[in-house]
Structures are given as structure tokens and as C-alpha cells.
Symmetry: none
Amino acid sequence: MFAEIITIGDEILIGQIVDTNSAFISKELNKIGISVYQITSVQDDEAHILNALRDAESRADIILLTGGLGPTKDDITKHTLCKYFDDVLIQDKKVLKHVEELFEKYITTSTISENNRKQALVPSKSVVLHNAYGTAPGMWIKKNNKAFVSLPGVPFEMKNLIANAVLPKIISEFKRPYIVHKTIMTYGLGESAIAEKIADWEDNLPTFIKLAYLPSLGRVRLRLTGKGTNKDQIIKGIQAEAQKLYPLIGDIIYGEEEDETLEFVIGKLLAERKMTVATAESFTGGKIAQQITSVPGASAYFKGSVVSYATETKIHLLKIPEQLVKQHSVVSEAVAKSMAENAKELLKTDFAIATTGNAGPSKGDSDADVGTVYIGIATPKGVFAEKYIMGNHRERIVQKSVNKAFEMLQKEILKF
Amino acid sequence: MFAEIITIGDEILIGQIVDTNSAFISKELNKIGISVYQITSVQDDEAHILNALRDAESRADIILLTGGLGPTKDDITKHTLCKYFDDVLIQDKKVLKHVEELFEKYITTSTISENNRKQALVPSKSVVLHNAYGTAPGMWIKKNNKAFVSLPGVPFEMKNLIANAVLPKIISEFKRPYIVHKTIMTYGLGESAIAEKIADWEDNLPTFIKLAYLPSLGRVRLRLTGKGTNKDQIIKGIQAEAQKLYPLIGDIIYGEEEDETLEFVIGKLLAERKMTVATAESFTGGKIAQQITSVPGASAYFKGSVVSYATETKIHLLKIPEQLVKQHSVVSEAVAKSMAENAKELLKTDFAIATTGNAGPSKGDSDADVGTVYIGIATPKGVFAEKYIMGNHRERIVQKSVNKAFEMLQKEILKF
């Protein structure tokens, strides 16, 4: 069983917007056991859309289209669907009522026009899918056991339609295998190093469970997917296999929720322990603080940060002894430790993270090479710092260091 | 002249990653007068890639591929290119040397393997494009006046290759219409409000100049595109029309470079004046500092920040009088002004930005409603703060406030 996605709109092909719809739809389809064979982005052009439809129909069972359903002249998806299915547009009374209601209630800046009312026209062969958030309805057309689904391109309208109309309809009309996912979140070890450590386990996975490595900067998600007809066996199998990972790589697992960030996990750990953290940031420029505070409720455990970008700020505000800087240079283990200690003391917290390093493009107040960084961690029991070489790309040096700092902090929190 | 983009990788089709490469490439190609006809995402599968190549070749003059160039088994783009062009892989000595150097200098966590060395294998008919940031080289293959360009999927490697190798090569090898873009960066006014103010000007634009509104949070870019054969006329026309915007909306224009951020413009203004800035951030949690330091060379004018997330940090570290907090509450004009003043004094700078407010989800150490924020600005001449209501979406409250703070600061710097 394959699906294909066709995204329609000139704005995609001139690079004005990034097509995030396709990734969302693909992810949701995968969760219910449907693979996406191809994603195609085409122009607001009849011949082009017709071609894409023909090609997709030859390969897939479900064809999803997004975009081209607005009320303006360049939106031609509905007319093109009529051409493709040899159909005509008819007015749907329910949709018309909904459009009129939307204008009455929410769209107070303009009055309803003839063009807006035309949003209620749909191909006669289509089943209308209710778009709660907008005027363009979703449309579902069946042909020879294949389904064609046309959705608006506005992401929050499309997402709502996928979740509440499209997925339930696919589930009820198409026979699919039972499917369960579980994602193990890891940090600090590369894809190939993890693969080596869990090779035996991977080789012995039951045939109905598949493993995918999903790497990103400093993180690897391990996604287990169970697929089959015996629901009970799949759920128990996935659970049992996930547990077996802990003796093998338990030290790098930080969560079991897809998309759970490490700063979120750290927040939970600190809140449970009623402990607090502060940061003293040099080259990371406030990014650690910013990621900590991106978690709602961070005020329960985060007190603040001294972003001491300039050396003089380290000396004056963070009270790093000038002698220490002179002796070891500002990018050094000694300064990283002193920064962490002083942040912990000045902000009266249990833990503190400190960063000092050179993110480039040129050497700063130190002779350290671009990419050389020190990360310091102060805990209730002491302080330490580690040196890392983080490459030569400014943005990535910062992000890798932020990720590493969170790893180091989480390990320390777990000791309390 | 058309181009097509083919992005290769199962991770796109399972929705694990959003394809941002295509939008970047489309935008860059459009800038040099090349339209993208279609974007196609395909699996790591030989037959599928071959089909996509054939289809793209039948429609376009330039075909760009990204992805599938890694060192592992599932990366098959190079072998597939050999099949398509009836070619063989040969070792490129320069690439091999570069791969070995990368491992020596930066990739200290693992030793170079045979697979890594294979990154130096390229189709014999290809011209190698140097990838400064990674081991997979770009490749350019010409066939019947059509160009096929294969690039790594890692965005920062791909972007560098597009800018420094692909675009210059396209410009030198393909005849295109003469095209000039000019982007006027504005802040603080919505798309439709701007459209009203410049309606007469827009109606009277010469036919060879087109206008596009490109809105984002708190910013609208106005992109003028001149296209034709008379280079001189286009350059002069664009310049003249851009100038006419200043009497109409000069107060909201902050730059004339595409993608020039306001923090970049502020950096230039400060560096020119040899002046400095610091920040005192509460609910923005370090995001202002982080955006300032994302500009290379920020150490010339940014001294640091006190991220005083907790009220006690404002009192102890930032020396805000406890009495002031009690009297006015922590989210108040008085506290925002005091924070800005004290940051300027503590960090010995010419300017300081301060933020205090409630980004939600619940009320904090103050009774202020979610979305209520104060932004304070200290300058060599004094200090002031303004109140804003920023909606009810946590992330957007923070980002809107950061944007607004930069607007306020820029206006003040211009007075010196």
C-alpha cells in the first residue's frame, strides 16, 4: 500500500515557503502503516497538475493533494480535479453555511464576496471533508479503489483535516496492518557507534519489529516499529525489546517519548528534586538559557544566566580573577570551572553550566583555535570542566556545545 | 530555462525531516533568473531515482539532486548516476586529501575507514565541486547542454556548495535574462497596511519591475524584481523606484539587503559608532543575547547579558531595588527601566535592552496577564520603557518581543 503527496503552489517553487505539509502528512501516514512513495511539488498550472495526478495514480493507492483551493484566480485545483474525473462543480449547502458563519463570526475585517461563496463549490463525485478552521473544504474522491484527497495548503487547516477526517476515513476504508511505534531518545554517541553496541540485539529482533536510526546533531533516536496482525504480540514484543536496550546503552538513553527534548527532561528532573540551575555563557551567547526557558514552567528551576561575552564582563560581573585569565587564557579549563562555580554562587543555585570557547570566525581574546571549547559544570558536590573540539562552523559549534552541556548536566543531576 | 530539484532520501518520505533544501535552492535559482518547474522527493532506490532523472531531463535544462551521498550502504546516488550516464567511479586525489584532512583536524572521535575514503570516488564524467564542510563532494555532469548537479543533503554543506560553486558555474555556462532584485526590509507594520501606503507607487511601477510582499513575524520584505535585456535600464529603474519608497514608508525601512537581519544592521551601526550594548532579560530568557551573538564579530560591540529569570536574580545580581519590585510588581515600566539602567552600568556599555513580562502559560511572580510585556531601553541620554500586549502564544510572545526590542534599539542608535 503506497500513498503519494502532490503539493500545489508557485510559492513553493520560488522558494518563498518551505513545504512542511508533506513531512507532516508522511509522518501521520507512516504511523498508520502507509508508506509514501513520492512527494511532488508542482505549479498552479492545469496541465502540470493533470500530469502529476496521472503519474501518481499509476504508482499509488492514495493520492493526497494540498494547495490551490483559495478563492483567487490562481487557485485551480478544483477545476483541474473536475477535468481529471470528468466531473462538474456543484454547490454544497453545508459548506456554504459554514463559509457564511466563518465570515459572521471571525472574519470581521472584510465582508463575504461572491468569490468566498464559490468556496462551497465541490466536484459532484467528491465526499466533502469538513474544514473547521477555514473556508476551503477537504474533498475525497474514490476511483477504482484508489482515493484522491484534496486539502487546503494552510498548515493548521490541513493538519486538522488529516487528524479528524482523512486518517479515520483511510483507516475505515483501507485494510492495513496493525502498527506500533516506540522511540528511544539517546545522546552523546554516533549512529555507527550505537549500531556496534546493539548489533546482536538488532540481529535478533523478531521479524515483525523493525529498527530505524534517526540521527540529528548530537542525538540519535532509535525508532522501533512493530507491524502485523496480532496486536497483543506486537505491543508486548516492542515493550520487551525496548527494555533489552537498557543493559546495552542505558547510559545514553534520556527518554522514551518521540520529540522529547533533553532540556525538557532536565526540567522534569530538577523540578522533582526541587533543585535549581543557572548558566554562565560566553561563546554560546545565551543559547543555553534560551533553550532552558523555552520549556513552559522553567521558572520553577531556572534562576538566570550571566552571558559574559566580553572578557571584562567575566571579570567584573562574574568575578573571575583577572590573574586566572592571564595565567590560563580565557578559553581554558580553569576559567570554565571558575565561571560555573561563580554562577552557582552568584545566582544561588544547586547546579550551574559554564561555557567558554571560540566559535569563530576569527580568534578572540584567546589564542584558542576556532572550535575549541570548554564546558564547566558546578554541582552541590564540586566542579569540573571538559574540553571539546567542535568543528569549524560557527552555528554548529554553538549548537553542539549547547547539546553537550545538557548531556553533562543531566548525568550530574541523576546523581542526586 | 527551467530547473528541477530531486531530493533523495527515505527520511524525507517517512516525514522524519522537512525538506528545507528545495526552498533554499529554488530561492537562489530564482535570484539568477531560473525558474524551478518541479520538486520531486524520491526514495533511496535505484529504479526510482533513474525514473525521476529521466522525467526531469525531459522537462528541464538544469537538474539538481540532493542527498544519498553518505558513506553507508543505503546511499546510492553516485552508483545510480553512473548507471544513468553509463559511467564508472574513479578516485579523485584532491577529494581524498580533503577527506583525510577533515578526519585529522575535526573528526577526532573516530578513525578514517575504507568507507570514508570511498567518498573520494566520483563518476569519471563529472566535474568535482569542492565541499569545504564535509566529505561528500558536489558533482556536475553535462549532457547535451543540460547540467546535472549532485549535492550532499546536509543543509549547511549544500548551501555552501550552491553559493560558491553551483551558482557561479550556472551563471558562466547558461544564458539567462538579465535580472536584478532589490529587497527593502521593513518592520513594525503589516502587509496590508503597507500595501495601502504604497498603492499609488505600486500601480505606477514600470512593466519590467515586479513587486512581491514577503511577510514574516513583525517584518515584511518588499522584493522588487527587474527582468529584461537592457541591463542599464533595469538597474537604474530598480534604484529609482526603491528610492521613491522612502518618503512613503521610510520610518519602517531598516535595510536594503535580502535576509539582512535587524541584529546584523544594529551590529553595523554600533561598530561604526564604536558603541556597545548589553541586555537584561527576564521572560525572553537570553534570546536577545543569542540573536545578537549569532552575528559573526558581535564581540566588537556586545559585552554580555544578565538573564534574570527569577525575581531574586533581578534583585541580587542586577541590583533592582526590592522596594521597586514590591511597589510596581516585577512586570512594570519601573522595573524594565531599572533593569536597562543597571545592565548598562554593570556591563559598562552605551546602550542596554531590558525585558520583563509574562509569556505564560500561567501567571508568574506578578499579576500581569499572559502576553503583557515591558521593554526598556537605556541610552547615553537616558532610559525609557514601553508596554506591549503580545498575544497568548508563548513562543510568539517571546519572538515578537525580541523583534520589537531590536526595533526600539535601532531607532535610538540612529540618534547618535
